[in-house]
Symmetry: C3
Subunit: 492 residues, 3 copies
Amino acid sequence: MKQGVLTVLVVLLFWGMAGGANPPMSEETEACLRCHRSVTPGIVADWERSRMARVTPAAARSMISKKRRVSYDCIPNTIERIVVGCAECHSISIGIHDDTFDHNGFPVHVVVTPDDCAVCHPVEAEQYGKNIMSHAYGNLQNNGVYRALVDETNAVQTFQHGKTTPGRPNEQTDADACLYCHGTVVQVQGATTRPTAFGDMSFPVLSGWPNQGVGRINPDGSKGSCAACHTRHQFAIQMARKPSTCSECHKGPDVPAYKVYEVSKHGNVYGGLRDEWNFKAVPWTVGKDFSAPTCAACHVSLLVSPDGEVISERTHQMNDRLSWRIFGLIYAHPHPKSPDTTIIKNRAGLPLPTELTGEPSSEYLIDAAEQEARRANMKGVCLSCHGANWVDGQFARLENTIHTTNDMTLTATKILLAAWDQGAARGLAQKDSIFNEALEKKWVEQWLFFANSTRFASAMMGADYGSFDNGRWYLSKNIQEMMDLLELKRKR
Amino acid sequence: MKQGVLTVLVVLLFWGMAGGANPPMSEETEACLRCHRSVTPGIVADWERSRMARVTPAAARSMISKKRRVSYDCIPNTIERIVVGCAECHSISIGIHDDTFDHNGFPVHVVVTPDDCAVCHPVEAEQYGKNIMSHAYGNLQNNGVYRALVDETNAVQTFQHGKTTPGRPNEQTDADACLYCHGTVVQVQGATTRPTAFGDMSFPVLSGWPNQGVGRINPDGSKGSCAACHTRHQFAIQMARKPSTCSECHKGPDVPAYKVYEVSKHGNVYGGLRDEWNFKAVPWTVGKDFSAPTCAACHVSLLVSPDGEVISERTHQMNDRLSWRIFGLIYAHPHPKSPDTTIIKNRAGLPLPTELTGEPSSEYLIDAAEQEARRANMKGVCLSCHGANWVDGQFARLENTIHTTNDMTLTATKILLAAWDQGAARGLAQKDSIFNEALEKKWVEQWLFFANSTRFASAMMGADYGSFDNGRWYLSKNIQEMMDLLELKRKR
Amino acid sequence: MKQGVLTVLVVLLFWGMAGGANPPMSEETEACLRCHRSVTPGIVADWERSRMARVTPAAARSMISKKRRVSYDCIPNTIERIVVGCAECHSISIGIHDDTFDHNGFPVHVVVTPDDCAVCHPVEAEQYGKNIMSHAYGNLQNNGVYRALVDETNAVQTFQHGKTTPGRPNEQTDADACLYCHGTVVQVQGATTRPTAFGDMSFPVLSGWPNQGVGRINPDGSKGSCAACHTRHQFAIQMARKPSTCSECHKGPDVPAYKVYEVSKHGNVYGGLRDEWNFKAVPWTVGKDFSAPTCAACHVSLLVSPDGEVISERTHQMNDRLSWRIFGLIYAHPHPKSPDTTIIKNRAGLPLPTELTGEPSSEYLIDAAEQEARRANMKGVCLSCHGANWVDGQFARLENTIHTTNDMTLTATKILLAAWDQGAARGLAQKDSIFNEALEKKWVEQWLFFANSTRFASAMMGADYGSFDNGRWYLSKNIQEMMDLLELKRKR
């Protein structure tokens, strides 16, 4: 009962404080709000609900370590004791913004980047730079093999004289498809004048816009977008911690993490009990604030036990808990050492982390010791709820699945090689695309859809996603359909 | 603090009012409830939670314009000052109900229709009549081409002497499949006597029942069902405004709006923050009541800014904000002028809004100026949170996607024509169905599944639904699979 | 107003009681918690939130019948007046646990089984034993036909000399795929010593672990896992009643119940209004606690009307409300009499409830009278919200769908037989697997995916899941694709 009364008092106190005296905002932000309250009322109201609008960097910095959400001790004097508003993010910056323009006398840049967020959150920005996600644009577009897959997927094909021909890649289409998640290159292409409620005004014209992909190339030269997960303009931690946020890019057949989570036991608990959880607490207490992990709990968040002991440190690198890269290329393989995967070359000279027949390009990949260390990091999270026997059994199954799905990919690859050899398709030897024919596309689906799905199901207990829903059933059926095509289309 | 105290007082006052004195109900409704409280307790309890059960039409009418939910000023005296209960909807009507029967001395009709709702909501009913949805039954069943597709899809096929033959269409199957959403024809087929807790009673026998499809043909001659979205018997506005309601008919591969929304940034925000939103407020205030749109926000609801300025008027026509019809037929095309699309004939004489090769049947479709006006309507909603550059970029991508997906459909169509020509399939020239063979079904999937999915993804930021999940990957693969069939099955 | 004040008082009273005096726990459980609070803090906190941790069996037993959640009157004295904690479930048991080991001086078994739960919940455990789910392991693994399907699905295939060969089944893969839901055999394989925070300790090594499949074969010889639905360690009734719990095993294309529910009108209401429902009340009052059924409402829960009249009794047998088995084998058929389906033999000598051509193996299946009785059970639930005409119409459609989908499966089967006959595939006569070739896999998809999906859509109003999303469109397309393969691959 005493605790209850105390809670009420604390709430009232906090309420009084919150309602009574909001911290000051900068004159610049006040100027922004004067017009934007009516011009873009939605985002202003959204920001007003945010923590940014209520807590100054100085107050944020003064919290004890585990509760802190800013990671810098030398926040500039100019913004230390004001709330972080429009001007603070769209005006101040570390780098030089090509998209800065004069807006009613203020220098404003349109695109807020990780370098801008780094003013208060440098540790997170630095970690994210080591995250393979931040290189998602270049890893796709500057890799010849992947680029060929993108082109064959996105090109418009025409049919003439009994043949199909792919057109030239379309920039708008790429931005709408692969680069929606991987990120576009945002560049200033000039300026335009628009009529507004306050008279004609000049604005920069940006190509690759809008985009919030995780590897976006920004006008200040930085990579990525924090808003991919920390959605503007409320930047609510409860949103970043909920799996729906990850679903934006992790739901397709190529990377079905969210779908698998949804039907996993963890996802079931989330579905059943999330209304009773606290998604805002920092640090995030296992068992007290939530009773089953979300994506963020295993891959990102600072977790503590009810006694306050750290279970896992916050990370924005994410792959530092992952020993295998279970999607992203033809065979599952140990994680690349560098987030820039364009530097990788296999023995055959292709920019791939394995040979076409599966052997890893080991010099570019983490070694067994590092794999074990990362696995131990992840197991640490599991062990806060599960016994060692349980956890070891779970990880042993994942290892088995990695090997069997790689084997099933190898079988599909051998059929493809036979098809090229026997004239059932035209491939490397014929200097033809390896992604353009139906049989080749089936080979792609073997690893990009079915092996990936099976591995995600195994990693996160996805049951049917490892069986009938893009799982082993399809791995097996797809091979037989490739065999039929080989038989029916063979020329020699 | 002051505001908090005020809130408490207002809540208490409202509570007192609500609990203290419910408005009167009609004697007829009281009579209904006397039995139905025990016969169908679920729907009675559901109705008791509804606004209908607590607010009289007179009280509803007396609210200031933007808060009003009834759109008529001359509500009949008989129901003006009572709550709207069983008898008011199932007994009173504008039209003549074929399904009216004597039920314990009361004339009761089973099926409540838009004409019944129009007693208090005539503007909504009228708008809905202009909505293409209200014609969903006839547009499907009275269009020869579409009807053929329905028949080939729903028929039971038999196999004999090495050939398959489709059976006659099955009425129950149609009602269970296409007409579940499009609406059935509900007709009185006679009467039946059933034993009940109150002795034997006579009830009408209805064909096409149950059904709540959006284009249902009702026993009073009206079209549609308000309950398709305003689910009986709570008719909760918070439900109509949540996207799950739309998922009932907009989740399949043919029209994946809900799936796309779920993974879109808007859907992510909804997933993460909806618990903190107010889904009941009328009008609906952008930024204050919600921070990302649901389906209703963009397509239906009356939206205002926190200052009370109207951002978009309520509409039940819905297509008045849509410049393109991105699904529903072979090629995306400007919206039809009339909601009755059976009047359309292309130059080839087919009831289609475009030629088989994509050219629009322009005289039946809205012109560029009307397209631009509708686009501006929709952009008005976007601009309450996004800058003009962002919004224009988004719409430019959609336009590009409409053109590229139409091009990919044209390519598939040309392959189909070649297949007919070369004997790989039997089509129009052979007076055979254009929907019955595997190759033809692949052609249908090109536009009905893959082009549609890609367009929805583009319109609503669906990422993978425009890439690997029924998106461009399939547009491209499907063409190659059609090419293989053409090669393998060609006879001449 | 008065009611409001009363509510506040009751809440305060309850709060005081709850906070003031938790019932005692056993010394053994206290000993467990002393270490496990830091070793596995997540599950300890989870359990502390559970009803088990707050209510003694004696208190639970003392409630009036409809509110009771324990079904035994002779709960052992030893646990009657303490809360049910770690030791009570992991130490006490009816049967002999092979997995019992000495743990700090206490005999502890790792795997808690239905026989353990039966100490307080014997009626539920007994009902569950009659549920076909409890036999899910044996029904799959001890049925030659099904076992062959499992093997072909899960085996790694190799490609050599132009042929594919399936490898030997992999135990880990089976556990990760089919047996994830069906249940593994959990067996003690020895012991291992692990370093722990409290020094080296010995633990049993279990094969088939982890697993919580519904038909798990436990180390005490019992079948199943209550935790499949009553998720450890909170065992929250609100979770078991929410459909996400069922999605773990009922979401794939083979049994898409959850997907269908999501888009059904019932699922839409759940999606829109669940925040306002009471998922904890026992009994569960239709209309008052919820306004549309979840999976549990129709298939499991004790439902009453607002007047307290029983609408349906609680059951853990579940199939006692189901007249047809709409998935699980080649043709939909009346439910088997025995939950052990391995005893079934059709006239052709195969362990199937129908012939390959669809005729039911009637002596093993419930008869028409029992079907009617079960149908009446289910209709009783529907009738609490719907009129008889509505309900009859709904069930008539399901019957029609069962017949038409069986017919479409028969057509596919005839094509398969023709393919075997004409050398387009190798089947029974050639002593070859009936599940290994592409054409045979298409036949499997006809019943396992498309007929099942169509039937679920029909049973639960799934709209597009009976049309374009794995529904009739695919039933029809698949037959034509089988015809193409028959034509292209026929040898004679």
